[in-house]
């Protein structure tokens, strides 16, 4: 325990805390820019400098650990001058087109300029748009003219995702962030997860909008425009309308979408329940093959809902592609169902249907465009909006989400269960799959209080659990006494650790859930900004609340799911189901 003073007042702090940690705990404001709670400390923007007695120079609050007897000042003349000069230097070298910037009013540099009350810059020779923009990614644009070189994208890509697609290049005043040898991002390994975008404090990184395409479709009288919203949206969209993080806005969102002119407002969660049926039976099928039929199926099986993870696997661990579930993600199952089952039911030509999805994710844009995700060039999902884009569209439509009354999703593709809701959180797919698989095998509910499989919940990077299968039904007798071992990881850096352990023969599990982003989809690269661990916790809380309040909480109990198998697919993993709901993967390698 260290005793220290800040601005003369005494405080205590434990070893390992930084000056910034203590100040934030005590509500002493310190401006920051390169610092981010998700990332390791870099200490390079120097906006957070403070005075530490005995030191000739100023120290960064984020990079300086506290020590006993430390005397810290956070607001003196030389601190104010230094911080203000730094913000001025950043602004002078920042291409400034704030009013037409995607980050307008949501930009940390803009906020700093505001905080320091800047009315003029000492350096008049401002940056022009001299650097080329890299728009070769299918999902985002890098505009280095607005980059402040905080390295948050670099660290997010490396530390959270284990991809390391970008780094600082060159030195001195030529320093930029880019890919190896300054090649376009399209020529290096990138999984399109958008964590770089989500951690960028300025407009240097932004997703590719398809807002205008969607409005155009809505305005086209010959098109039926169907929208699906992922589970994670309802727990985060409110943040863009000044609701506190973790506020559920499901009903208001549905009303807003209807008001905007979407013909049918459906729920990706319907397809999440469908995924559980397909993936659950796929797992049981592989287990039967291995345990009863003497086959050698690819185990452990791995989830395939998260498109960043899929591409990660295709690049880094292609030898394990057979282990991936062949199930399409819920987004893609939904698109396939809309353009087959639903089109037929409604007597519509699939070519007249425009399927739009709202996803917490940028990688979903890439996924929807994969050639295997459509028939004859007609993609199952036509346009993918991020949560942020949807917020923009709602505002463009003149709607204040807060004014909307609650309403329900349309039938039949709007009906879902709590098991589908928790897809938004890390461990959610696993929990949903176990709720169904356990019951299918034993005829009883999972042996957890209120169906809450807590060992797979929470924000630990890697989670492990086992569930003993006893008293199984006759047709599953080969599973009697088997402990079903599962593992859950989120953030592909954690996935990399899991895959490496698997490759080294150190894992003994049957089923692995991997979500690309920290916290799962609720922490996706397309969610409202800024991101933080607290926000992810709040969103997760909202997701589990929605689950516990749901009428149905097991995917196989979704009445609409039962109906679609009756009327259309026959049974899980049927021939038709395989044709429409399953997919294949591509070996990509790293170079």
């Amino acid at each position: 325990m260290a005793k220290l003073t800040i601005n003369g007042a005494p405080y205590e702090a434990s070893a390992g805390m930084t000056i910034l940690d203590v100040c934030q705990r005590e509500g002493i404001h310190i401006p920051t820019l390169c610092n981010h709670p998700d990332l390791k400390t870099q200490g390079i923007c120097r906006v957070c400098v403070v005075d530490v007695k005995g030191s000739k120079t100023l120290q960064s609050a984020c990079g300086t650990p506290v020590s006993d007897g430390m005397e810290i000042l956070t607001t003196t003349d030389r601190i104010r001058k230094a911080r203000k000069t730094i913000v001025e230097l950043l602004l002078a070298n920042h291409y400034t087109d704030c009013t037409v910037c995607p980050k307008n009013l949501n930009c940390e540099l803009q906020s700093l300029a505001n905080e320091f009350g800047l009315t003029d810059l000492r350096w008049k020779e401002r940056r022009e748009r001299t650097l080329p923009q890299d728009d070769t990614s299918p999902v985002f644009v890098r505009d280095n003219n607005k980059c402040v070189l905080c390295q948050r994208c670099v660290r997010a890509c490396d530390e959270l995702q284990g991809v390391y697609a970008v780094a600082n290049l060159y030195k001195g005043d030529s320093t930029i962030v880019g890919s190896a040898f300054n090649r376009p991002i399209s020529e290096v390994v990138c999984i399109n997860c958008g964590q770089c975008v989500a951690h960028c404090p300025t407009g240097a990184l932004y997703e590719k909008y398809c807002i205008e395409d969607v409005w155009k479709a809505i305005d086209d009288p010959d098109k039926i425009v169907v929208i699906q919203t992922a589970p994670a949206i309802r727990a985060a969209l409110g943040e863009a309308f000044d609701y506190p993080p973790g506020t559920r806005v499901t009903g208001k969102m549905v009303s807003a979408l209807r008001t905007m002119g979407f013909d049918n407002v459906f729920d990706t969660q319907f397809a999440a329940d469908l995924t559980i049926m397909e993936e659950g039976f796929e797992l049981l099928g592989r287990l039967k093959d291995a345990l009863a039929d003497g086959g050698k199926p690819s185990l452990p099986m791995m989830t395939s809902c998260s498109p960043g993870w899929i591409k990660f696997q295709e690049h880094f661990f292609p030898e394990y592609l057979p282990n991936l579930s062949t199930c399409k993600s819920p987004q893609q199952m939904f698109g396939a169902v809309v353009k087959s089952f639903w089109a037929r039911k409604m007597n519509l030509d699939p070519a007249d249907i425009v399927c739009v999805s709202v996803m917490p994710c940028t990688a979903k844009k890439f996924e929807a465009a994969r050639p295997e995700m459509g028939t004859d060039g007609d993609q199952d999902v036509d346009f993918v909006l991020t949560t942020r884009e949807l917020a923009v569209m709602i505002k463009q439509a003149g709607i204040d989400l807060r004014d909307m009354a609650d309403s329900a999703f349309d039938d039949p593709l709007g009906e879902s269960t709590g098991a589908a809701t928790i897809f938004a959180a890390t461990g959610g797919v696993m929990e949903a799959a176990l709720r169904t698989a356990y019951e299918v095998v034993t005829g009883r509910e999972v042996p957890f209080k209120d169906l809450d499989i807590t060992p797979v919940r929470g924000l630990d990077g890697v989670k492990q659990a086992g569930i003993a299968l006893t008293g199984v039904k006759k047709e599953w007798s080969f599973l009697e006494g088997v402990e079903l071992k599962v593992m859950v990881a989120h953030g592909t850096a954690n996935a990399k650790a899991v895959m490496t352990a698997l490759r080294d023969g150190k894992l003994d599990v049957h089923f692995i859930e991997i979500m690309t982003c920290p916290g799962g989809c609720l922490g996706g690269g397309g969610q409202p900004l800024p991101v933080s661990p607290e926000k992810r916790l709040a969103r997760a809380r909202a997701i589990y609340e929605e689950d516990s309040e749901s009428v149905h909480r097991k995917s196989h109990r979704n009445p609409s799911i039962a109906r679609i198998y009756d009327e259309f697919f026959g049974s899980p993993n049927s021939h038709l189901a395989h044709e429409l709901l399953h997919t294949r993967y591509t070996v990509r390698g790293q170079y």
């Binding site: 400390t41 120097r46 100023l58 070298n93």
Partner: protein, 398 residues
Amino acid sequence: MARKLDVVFSDIEPGSALRAALAMTPSDVIGLVSRSKLRGRGGAGFPTGIKWDTARRHEGAEKYIVCNADEGEPGTFKDKNILERQTAKVLEGMAIGAYAIGASEGFIYLRGEYKYLVSDLARKIGEMKSQNLIGPDICHEKGFCFDIHIKLGSGSYVCGEETALLESLESRRGEPRNKPPYPAESGFLGRPTVVNNVETLSFVPHILLNGADWFQQFGTEKSTGSKLFSVSGDCGKPGIYEFEFGITIRELLKEIEADAGTKAVQIGGASGFCACADDFDKPICFEGIPTGGSIIIFNKSRSMFRVLKNFVEFFQEESCGQCVPCREGCSRMLEGIEKFEKGKGSSKTINDLLELSETMSLASKCGFGQSVPNSFRTIASKFKDEILSAGEGELWQS
């Protein structure tokens, strides 16, 4: 009158200092080095004994000693000469340090441009291995094993900063780390690591052989011993000199046969201080004008504006680009200086740049960023007229 010495380039009997060290306990070796008050010769002047003691006290699965041979300050070339002429002594200094702190591996981080030295260094390491001065059970001391690897830098000035050097040594981009923790606590691969300059290490064997009192008889109270100077520019006898600390600029100028027309002396290279005639009686030492050894002499034919611009151009290119005050500050400083050339600079421009300098010195992440403004501050204050009149035609010949 400060004495001219010949310690660094004098020969010792190979292994004699190491054997003297091995006859002592590691903490006694550190005690001796501490009592000598030996300070780092790279420029920062950190007490070597404290560095070693910190590394010794810090627990680590492995500890390392690194010889910083990334000699990159403009105007310095002493380390190159030491490595060429006294290779064995530097390696022996490393081995003594390794014994003192408990390291079994060491690195020579060699400036990329000194690549031609690699084969000689490797040969010398091999020779010392065959003499049982490097390798397993050194000097038959059971359990004291020490090996040395050579790592080439890739041309970055900032990698001379010890934490950037360690990043580079770990095969990453050479960018300074946050301090604390200091390398002696958490350095190479997060383990206790001592980084010492070539010249510092070359003094260590002499201290072991001759004692702390012998070393302390040279120099000043806070800057003991002697120092190598790399002298270049307008003088009769440029080259490498060894003087005791505390030598005045005037004494030095006399020794190197600089003419009476000497206008300015840049002490410590581009990141150092510019001295004018008024300063010539000041001593060169840590309590006076500190230096890593670079001494550049300018006579009356030189434009101090050009000198300044050259330094700032160097920094604009060599800033690692990591922290804002250094990266952006260097660019804006150069932009400001170029105004004078165009006849658009004024006293206000100088004042603006002095304010910028203040932020760069106070808020930059590493010692390099913090020292960038030294040359601007000193040249702009001592040769203000030359700066202000830089735009009035070509007065100076280059």
